[in-house]
């Protein structure tokens, strides 16, 4: 897989990570690996920098109270996370009624299973994991395997490595101008819906919710390298859909 190989190249050169990139994501994504500390450096590109998230301070006390059966702690956690989890469920499922049920079930499960919560992970990671698993489980039950072929919308290259279609058009300003249009927003929302469920989950947790690759890996039980690979490919697909929308080639 070219992308995985390229990312492996990045890691080898950086010599910062214990490995994860050295195998194709498809073969390693179901097992966990040690965190790749070197890849968690602060972002400098403003356009894609992760938003600042909660520190997790104060969560320990809430969990202890929840473990003791304190319903007010459950409500406090609900107030902190319900909006985020609702949005994650809504984006993965696309149905508001389903999202409501998922969120209700997640908080109910959190109350019942608080005693099994291990302090090693943040409660947010645990809640995201419960939400995504519930949403993906519901999708598996309700939907027939409608696989979308990304290939048409991914960039293509000449044998010598140049873009297949040149010049590559820079439509980023057009997207800025058109994004206010309902049509463009709907197109992007539809494109996200066309992603494979697990890829959609990664995109929602990363680009919509602002979780780090490491947090997403923990929430979805993927390796960090699998998260990167899925996220990059999904972004390329979304980019290709937008390019087509503006009348250009994915290049």
């Amino acid at each position: 897989m070219d992308l995985a190989m390229a990312m492996a190249d990045v890691d080898r050169r950086n010599q910062m990570s214990t490995n994860p990139m050295t195998e194709p994501a498809s073969s390693v994504e179901t097992r966990r690996v040690a965190p790749s500390h070197g890849l968690e450096s602060p972002l400098i590109a403003p356009a894609v920098s992760k938003r600042k998230r909660r520190s997790g301070r104060g969560e320990t006390g809430l969990i202890e109270r929840l473990k003791a059966g304190d319903e007010r702690a459950l409500e406090a956690i609900f107030n902190l996370y319900s909006r985020k989890l609702y949005n994650v469920a809504l984006r993965i499922l696309g149905e508001s009624a389903d999202a409501e049920e998922i969120v209700q079930d997640v908080f109910w499960t959190a109350f019942l299973k608080a005693k099994t919560f291990r302090g090693a992970s943040q409660i947010s990671t645990w809640l995201y994991r419960l939400t995504v698993n519930a949403a993906l489980g519901r999708l598996r039950r309700n939907r027939k395997g409608k696989e979308v072929d990304y290939e048409e919308y991914l960039p293509k290259f000449q044998p010598d490595g140049h873009h297949l279609v040149r010049p590559v058009i820079d439509w980023s300003d057009t997207l800025d101008e058109k994004y206010a249009d309902h049509e463009t927003q709907r197109l992007l929302a539809n494109a996200i819906d066309q992603l494979k469920p697990l890829d959609r989950s990664v995109v929602v947790l990363s680009d919509v919710e602002g979780l780090s690759d490491k947090e997403i890996a923990a929430a979805l039980d993927l390796t960090v390298s699998a998260v990167k690979t899925r996220l990059h490919r999904a972004r390329l697909f979304l980019r290709g859909k937008l390019a087509a929308h503006f009348g250009h080639s994915p290049a």
Binding site: V48, E71, S82, N87, D160, H163, P167
Partner: protein
Amino acid sequence: MRTRKATRALTNRTCKQMADLIYAYLNNSLNPDVKKDFEQHLQICPDCVSFLNTYRKTVEVTRAVRAREIPADVRKNILAFLRKPKRRVGT
């Protein structure tokens, strides 16, 4: 615009490799040498500048897609449900 031959002669990376490196570039996780290659390529390849700009803008707008408030009635329903856990445990 420079010819393909000139582009290849002046950069250590192909456009295909550039596309694969974008994720790490935007995460600022490229090794300095690779980052230098990446930015050198950008200096001479308008195609890759366009590709990078549109990739970055795609991520930006994806972030703006969903920031929906949980509807008040949904919130009320769930809270009402959660406030009766003891009754539920026995059912």
